[in-house]
């Protein structure tokens, strides 16, 4: 038996008298030709007959209404006040948080504009590296220039080599300036060993001096010249406001929920 769903539906409607005149004639013509359709119709007729004979059940009880069943329940407060307040606080909280974050971002952006940019710092560092050999070369040259003078100092420190009135013939100074210094040095030490000892004693005395005492606050901030930074009590009002609003919103939502649960009971 190969009957389509549409044919089943038509047979079912035929049995219930729900087919249009045109559909009825068409189906009847087909049923005359196809015995399967007749058999299918009998199947449906059987099901319908059984269902039509379904016993009617007695009602288990009366379903009459009482006034208590149909009275309009007193409209309980659905905690609208709490909900409204909670919603308002929530919006305020979100607004304050957005304002806080926004101002922070703005501030950091401004600081970033003032501060040297990272790229610039890197470029400077690279330039320093490039300049370093040149600087070293200059320093080396300077050292070479100073070296004869240092040598000369050593010579000066050896008193036996500098007799009074005797010039340091062994010292070869190319620069006229160095020669002048040498002459002055020789003149200073012309006093011989006594002068040398005096100076050494002075140096020792100088070295043995106690370290300078730590500068006091008054040294850093002389009166009426520089005022010390004012220590303000930095209370994060924004944070306090955020916390207060957040806690308030949570509390009100909780209260609204509790009230709703109570109303349901």
């Amino acid at each position: 038996m190969k009957i389509s769903n549409r044919e089943w539906a038509q047979l079912s409607a035929y049995l219930d008298g729900e087919l249009s005149q045109r559909e009825l004639i068409k189906l009847q013509n087909r049923m005359e030709e196809d015995p399967d359709l007749n058999a299918a119709l009998e199947e449906i007729r059987y099901v319908k007959s059984v269902l039509t004979h379904t016993p009617l059940l007695s009602v288990p009880r009366n379903f009459k209404l009482t006034s208590a069943m149909v009275e309009v329940p007193h409209r309980r407060s659905q905690a609208w006040g709490y909900r409204l307040a909670a919603a308002a606080l929530s919006f305020l909280f979100i607004g304050v948080v957005v304002l806080d974050i926004g101002s922070g971002v703005l501030k950091s952006g401004m600081l970033g504009a003032e501060a040297p940019r990272a790229e610039e710092v890197m470029l400077e560092a690279a330039a320093d590296e490039l300049e370093e050999p040149a600087v070293l070369a200059v320093e080396k040259a300077a050292e070479e220039e100073v070296a004869p003078a240092a040598e000369m100092e050593e010579v000066v420190k050896a008193p036996e080599k500098f007799d009074s009135g005797q010039e340091g013939d062994s010292v070869r100074m190319a620069e006229g300036e160095t020669e002048t210094i040498l002459e002055e040095t020789n003149r200073d030490y012309s006093g011989g060993e006594d002068a040398w000892e005096e100076e050494s004693q002075e140096l020792e005395n100088g070295l043995s001096l106690d370290e300078e005492p730590m500068p006091t606050e008054a040294d850093y901030y002389p009166e009426q010249e520089i005022s010390r930074p004012v220590e303000t009590l930095a209370i994060p009002w924004m944070r306090i406001l955020e916390i207060a609003l957040g806690l308030g919103a949570i509390g009100l939502w909780g209260a609204a929920w509790i009230k709703r649960q109570k109303n349901r009971k």
């Binding site: 769903n5 079912s12 007749n38 009998e42 059987y46 319908k48 009617l56 379903f63």
Partner: protein, 203 residues
Amino acid sequence: MNLKEQISKSLEGDLDAFNQIVLEYQSLVYNQAYRVIGEPDAAADATQEAFISAYKKLHTYRGGSFKSWLLRIVSNACYDEYRRRQRQPVVPLTPENDQGEDLESAPWLEDPAENPEEFAQRKELSNAIQTCLNRLELEFRAVVVLVDIQGMDYASAAAVVDSPLGTVKSRLSRARRSLQDCLRGFKELFPPSLRHVGEVASE
């Protein structure tokens, strides 16, 4: 007092007038609910809810078939009750006493006018049909109960289940085909007049 007067008085707040309607239609409503939901307790709850809802929405009745209008409310109440029961633990179909033991007979099936043998046959037939109906999906079950058990036409059934006429036609056809084999399994329970129906097809 006819139905029209009962309705108008009910609209004025006369609960006694509405209770007369309840008494008149409670069997129809309960049977519809029971056949759709398949559980007596749930059907009773749905019936009560349907009548409460009908009383509150009586002003929406604009004439026409009161039975169709009422069954539409019942249909919605059945869907709601069915879904609610689906979310809760299943209540056993067989009636039980307080100790959870099966009762010999369900009080809602008892009819003092019939003898015990007839009652037993009627009960078996009722249970057999309900067993087969329970195998259908709720939407198909509702349509087949409305048309084949309540005897409604397609248009009224379509209005009750709030679906197009073609949908009702299709659902009814499929429901009947699904019920064929199941109902044949209970053939010996049916009255002799029904046992030979469709034998041409089965041979």
